[in-house]
C-alpha cells in the first residue's frame, strides 16, 4: 500500500500557499501609528492555511495507503487551458474577431466535433454572433488587436 499524490497534494499545496502568504504578509507596510493593521488579516489567513495544511498532511499520513489503481489525470482540460491562454494572447494581438474565429473550431474539435463544414461554419458564426450581441447591441468597447484588427478593415 502506498500513499498517492492525491492524498498528499492538497495538504502540501495548502501549506506552501500559507507559508508563501505569510512571507509576503511581512512585506506589507504598517499602519500610520506603527500597528500591524494592514498585515493582520493576511497574516491570520496565512496562519490558518499553514495550520490546516499541516493537519491535512498529518491526516494523509495517518490514513491507509491507496490500494486502488492510480486515477489518471485527464489530458484534455490541460489542452483546453492552453487554448484559452492562447485565445487571450491572440485577442490582444489580432483582436476579438480573428482570435475567436481561430479558437472556436479548435475548441469544438477538442469536444469531439469532427464535421469540417460545422467547424468552418462555427469559425464564421461564433465571432459574428458574439460581436453583434456584446459590441454592437450592448455597446461594449471591443478589445483591439495590437498587431492587426479586422475591425479596422471592415469598419466595425
Amino acid at each position: 500500500m502506498t500513499h498517492t499524490i492525491k492524498q498528499f497534494a492538497p495538504g502540501a499545496a495548502t501549506l506552501l500557499i500559507g507559508l508563501a502568504a505569510a512571507v509576503a504578509s511581512f512585506q506589507i507596510g504598517l499602519d500610520y501609528d506603527g500597528s500591524w493593521g494592514p498585515r493582520i488579516f493576511p497574516l491570520m489567513s496565512a496562519g490558518v492555511l499553514i495550520l490546516l495544511g499541516a493537519l491535512m498532511l498529518r491526516s494523509a499520513t495517518s490514513e491507509p495507503g491507496n490500494t486502488s489503481p492510480q486515477e489518471s489525470v485527464p489530458r484534455d482540460p490541460f489542452i483546453l487551458l492552453g487554448l484559452v491562454i492562447l485565445y487571450l494572447w491572440l485577442i490582444g494581438k489580432v483582436g476579438y474577431l480573428i482570435s475567436t474565429a481561430m479558437v472556436t473550431p479548435a475548441t469544438l474539435w477538442l469536444f469531439g466535433i469532427r464535421n469540417p463544414l460545422a467547424l468552418a461554419f462555427s469559425a464564421l458564426a461564433a465571432p459574428a454572433i458574439f460581436h453583434l450581441i456584446f459590441f454592437e447591441l450592448l455597446g461594449v468597447f471591443p478589445p483591439y488587436g495590437a498587431w492587426f484588427d479586422l475591425l479596422d478593415v471592415i469598419g466595425g
Binding site: K6, A9, P10, T14, I17, A21, A24, I28, G29, D31, Y32, G37, P38, I40, F41, P42, S45, A46, V48, L49, L52, G53, L55, M56, S59, P74, D76, P77, L80, L81, V84, I85, Y87, L88, I91, G92, Y96, T100, V103, T104, T107, L108, L110, F111, G112, I113, A126, F130, F134, L138, G139, V140, F141, P143
Partner: protein, 504 residues
C-alpha cells in the same frame, strides 16, 4: 404594505415581467442540464445586467436562482441524473415513479411542492427581513465581525466532504481578497508590482472562472454522455396514469408544510443551502411517514418533501445578505456583485435607502414563482425533451466563449479574462481535490467587510481582541462557530460516507 406597492410596481411594468418570465424559463433549463448550475448561469449573465436598470437586473438573476433550484428536479425525475446536488434527494423517489410510467405525475408533485415551499420561504422573508434589519442596525463592529467569523467557519466546515479542506477554501478566499490597496492606509498588499492588482481582483471574472470555466474543464474531463429521457407513451392509459388526483396529493401536504419550515430555517443560516435542506427534509419525511416502506420505491411524498425544502431555502437565504451583507449562498455572493455594480450598498441600511427596490425585488420573486410553476406544471416534459436535444459538445464550447467575453465585459479589461482563466483552472483543481469552490467565493465576498469590522473593533477596544469576548452577542456568535465545527467533525467521523453537500 410595502410588498403591495412592490407588486403594483412590477405588475404594471411589462418589461420587468418579460425579464422575470425569461428568467423563469432560463433557470429551469439551466437547472435541468446536469452539470450546469443556476450559479454558473447567473455568473455568466451578470455582465449582461450592467445594461439593465437595477430592479430588472436583480429580478432577472434572483428568479433564475429560484427557477434553477426547481429545474434540478426535471433532470432527477426524467433523466435519473440530478440537475443540482439538492435534487439528488428528489431522484430517490422521482426516478422510480418515472420508471413506473408516472413521470408527469411526479413532475406535477415536484412543481406544486416547489411552488408552495418557495412561497412559504418568500413570505417569511418578506415578513421577517425588515425586523432582522432593524436589529442589525444596532450591531456594532465587534458583533458584526463575530457574525462574519461564524459565517466563515460555518460555510467552510458545513459544505463539502472535508472540514479541513472547506476551511482552507474559506481561508484562501479571504487571502485572495487581500490583494490590492489597503482600505485604511492605501498601502499595497500582495500586488507584486502589478498595476492591475492595485484595485484588487474583481468578483465577476473570479466567479465566472470558478463556476463556469471550471465546469467546462470538468465536462471535458468527464465527457458525459448526453442525458436520456424516460419517455412516456402518448396514449389514454398514460394520461390516466399521470393524472394527479386530490386523494393522491393530500398525503403530500403535511410533508410539504413540514419541509417548507425545514427549508426556511436552514435557508436563513449562511452556507447550509438547498442540498442539506432537501436531504434533511427527505429524512425527516420518511421518519414521520405513514408509508416509510414505500419511500425509495416511488412514493409521491418522497418527491414532495425534498422539493418543498429545496425551494423554501431560496427566499430566506437572502435574509443574511440583505440585512447584514453576508451572502448565505453562492447565488447570494453573486448578487452582492450586482448590488455593487448598481451602486447599492447592502446591509441593514438597505431598508432605509432602497426600501422600494427591495420590496419590488420580493414582488418579482413571488411573480417568478408563479411563472416557473405554470411553465413547469404544463411544460416540464417539453423542457426535458428540449434538453436532450442540446448537444453537450457544442454547449460547453459556447459556454467557454461566453465566459471569456463575459469576463472581458465586466470592466473592459483583458486582465480580467486572465483572472477568469486562472480561477477557472483553480476551481477545477479545487473540485478534483475535494476543496470547496463555493466556500472560497463566499469568503472572498465576505472578507472585505470582515476585515473592516475587525479593525474598527480593535480601534474601539481598550482591551485588544478581548472585545470579542466581553460583548455577549459577539461571544455568542464565536461560540456558534466553534460548536458548528465540533458538531461537523463529530458527524463526519460518525458517518464517513455521508453525502457530499456541494452547493450552498
Amino acid at each position: 404594505m410595502d410588498i403591495f406597492v412592490g407588486l403594483a410596481t412590477v405588475l404594471t411594468d411589462p418589461v420587468i415581467l418579460a425579464w422575470i418570465f425569461g428568467a423563469a424559463v432560463i433557470g429551469m433549463i439551466v437547472g435541468a442540464i446536469p452539470g450546469l448550475t443556476a450559479s454558473a448561469a447567473i455568473a455568466m449573465l451578470v455582465p449582461l445586467t450592467y445594461y439593465m436598470d437595477p430592479l430588472a437586473a436583480l429580478a432577472f438573476l434572483y428568479v433564475i436562482g429560484k427557477s434553477g433550484r426547481y429545474g434540478g428536479s426535471i433532470a432527477a425525475i426524467l433523466f435519473n441524473t440530478p440537475g443540482t446536488a439538492a435534487s439528488a434527494a428528489t431522484q430517490i423517489d422521482g426516478y422510480p415513479l418515472a420508471k413506473k410510467g408516472q413521470a408527469s405525475k411526479a413532475m406535477k408533485v415536484a412543481t406544486i411542492s416547489s411552488v408552495i415551499g418557495d412561497f412559504f420561504g418568500e413570505f417569511v422573508l418578506i415578513i421577517g427581513v425588515a425586523w432582522i434589519a432593524a436589529i442589525a442596525l444596532h450591531l456594532g463592529p465587534p458583533e458584526l465581525f463575530s457574525i462574519y467569523l461564524a459565517a466563515f467557519v460555518v460555510i467552510g466546515s458545513v459544505i463539502g466532504k472535508s472540514v479541513l479542506k472547506g476551511l482552507a477554501s474559506a481561508a484562501l478566499g479571504v487571502l485572495i481578497k487581500m490583494a490590492g490597496l489597503d482600505p485604511v492606509t492605501g498601502g499595497e498588499r500582495f500586488t507584486f508590482g502589478q498595476v492591475e492588482l492595485t484595485d484588487g481582483l474583481s468578483l465577476v471574472p473570479l466567479m465566472i472562472g470558478i463556476f463556469v470555466l471550471a465546469e467546462v474543464f470538468e465536462q471535458l474531463a468527464k465527457r458525459s454522455a448526453p442525458p436520456e429521457i424516460t419517455e412516456e407513451p402518448d396514449d389514454q392509459a398514460s394520461r390516466d396514469r399521470n393524472r394527479l388526483t386530490w386523494d393522491e396529493f393530500r398525503p403530500c401536504l403535511p410533508h410539504i408544510l413540514r419541509s417548507s419550515v425545514i427549508g426556511t430555517v436552514i435557508g436563513m443560516l449562511p452556507g447550509l443551502g438547498s442540498t442539506i435542506a432537501a436531504f434533511v427534509a427527505y429524512g425527516e419525511g420518511k421518519r414521520s411517514a405513514k408509508n416509510p416502506e414505500e419511500w425509495g420505491k416511488g412514493a409521491l411524498e418522497g418527491v414532495a418533501a425534498p422539493e418543498a425544502a429545496n425551494n423554501a431555502v431560496s427566499g430566506p437565504s437572502m435574509a443574511p445578505l440583505l440585512t447584514l451583507g453576508i451572502p448565505g449562498s453562492t447565488i447570494g455572493a453573486i448578487l452582492v456583485g450586482v448590488f455593487m455594480i448598481h451602486g447599492i450598498k447592502i446591509g441593514p441600511t438597505l431598508f432605509v435607502t432602497s426600501r422600494e427596490l427591495i420590496y419590488s425585488l420580493f414582488a418579482c420573486g413571488l411573480i417568478g414563482i408563479v411563472f416557473y410553476g405554470l411553465v413547469g406544471y404544463f411544460g416540464a416534459a417539453n423542457v426535458g425533451r428540449f434538453i436532450t436535444r442540446i448537444p453537450v459538445n457544442i454547449l460547453y464550447p459556447v459556454i467557454m466563449l461566453t465566459a471569456v467575453i463575459s469576463a472581458y465585459v465586466s470592466r473592459g479589461s483583458l486582465f480580467d479574462v486572465g483572472v477568469m482563466i486562472l480561477f477557472g483552472f483553480i476551481g477545477w483543481g479545487m473540485k478534483r481535490f475535494d476543496f470547496n469552490p463555493a466556500a472560497f467565493v463566499i469568503s472572498f465576498v465576505l472578507a472585505g467587510g470582515a476585515e473592516e469590522a475587525f479593525r474598527q473593533s480593535l480601534r474601539l477596544s481598550d482591551s485588544g481582541i478581548l472585545i470579542f469576548i466581553t460583548r455577549p452577542i459577539a461571544l455568542a456568535f464565536l461560540l456558534i462557530g466553534i460548536a458548528v465545527v465540533i458538531y461537523r467533525v463529530r458527524s463526519l467521523r460518525a458517518k464517513p460516507e455521508a453525502p457530499s453537500l456541494k452547493d450552498a
